[in-house]
């Protein structure tokens, strides 16, 4: 199904993926009593943050992420997506790492888990990173900086 006016959109696949992400975060909340915030879990697994989540549990969650991706891509013949080159990946990675630690979360912790709880901190965080994300892509487009083929 496509969305009139938005030729690139995949609303049904997006919704289905979103429901799965919600179920995964719900399992973490109701099963383990924790927020499924990937930046915090990554920091915990690599010894870069203290948390009540056991380090092995944090590592198990991170191992699951590519495992789930593998299960999905194994069923599909779709071509692999393109990624940015080394320099933009390094710059982006550094900013994402610094920003998510200072800001206490990313798209999963603040976006999925915090917004659904109507956390004011998360609503402010999401509004902020969406705004700078929009501005970054707009500025790069205006400057003719293409990172993807």
């Amino acid at each position: 199904m496509s969305l009139p006016g938005f030729p690139d959109a995949a609303p049904m696949a997006g919704l289905a993926g979103g429901v799965l992400i919600g179920l995964a975060a719900a399992l973490m909340l109701l099963g383990a009593g924790r927020i499924a915030g990937v930046s915090g879990i990554a920091a915990r697994a690599f010894g870069l943050a203290e948390s009540s989540l056991p380090r092995a549990g944090a590592a198990a969650f991170l191992v699951g992420l590519p495992l789930g991706a593998l299960i999905v891509t194994g069923q599909s013949a779709a071509p692999a997506p393109a990624f940015a080159g080394t320099v933009p990946l390094v710059v982006a990675g550094l900013l994402v790492g610094i920003g998510t630690r200072l800001g206490s979360g990313c798209t999963s912790g603040h976006g999925v888990c915090g917004m659904s709880r109507l956390s004011q901190r998360s609503l402010v965080a999401v509004a902020t990173f969406m705004a700078t994300g929009f501005a970054t892509v707009a500025a790069m487009n205006a400057l003719g900086l293409a990172v993807l083929p």
């Binding site: 992400i21 991706a69 790492g97 956390s119």
Partner: protein, 140 residues
């Protein structure tokens, strides 16, 4: 394997599958969403909407539970203050997200799709996290 590992492993696996089905492991799709003033691709809003809807239900269930199903107790964020650190950090994160079209979840999931770019992004991300930790310890 103990339940302390199975629950996060299963959650991570479902999470990674959801990210991939929703197109979030494709940087072009994420940057398409962030290209609000260009050829906008609203797919990410559907992903976020679906996830938030399910999690809103989970939070109502959580409020009625004494303890989680497979752990001793809940351990949830309780900070309430809006600080310059929260806003500044989120602003930096958004810039990085916009540059490469990757955030932490899709970064890890993409290890199964494009291992080299994913590993470069994740190594830099962890270095950024380590830098924050180092500077915090220096100033402590």
């Amino acid at each position: 394997m103990s339940r302390a590992l199975i629950v996060p492993l299963l959650s991570g696996t479902i999470f990674g599958a959801g990210l991939t089905i929703g197109g979030m492991t494709d940087p072009a799709r994420v940057r398409g969403f962030l290209d609000l003033f260009g050829r906008w691709d609203p797919t990410l809003a559907f992903v976020m909407g679906g996830a938030v809807l399910v999690m809103a239900l989970a939070w109502t269930a959580q409020r009625r539970m004494q303890r989680p199903a497979f752990a001793e107790g809940f351990s949830l964020p309780d900070a309430r203050d809006i600080t310059p650190r929260l806003v500044g950090g989120s602003a930096l994160f958004g810039i990085g997200w916009g540059i490469a079209g990757l955030c932490p979840g899709p970064g890890f999931a993409a290890l199964a799709i494009a291992p080299v770019p994913a590993a470069i992004f994740l190594a830099a991300m962890l270095a950024g996290m380590a830098l924050v930790r180092f500077l915090e310890r220096e100033s402590a």
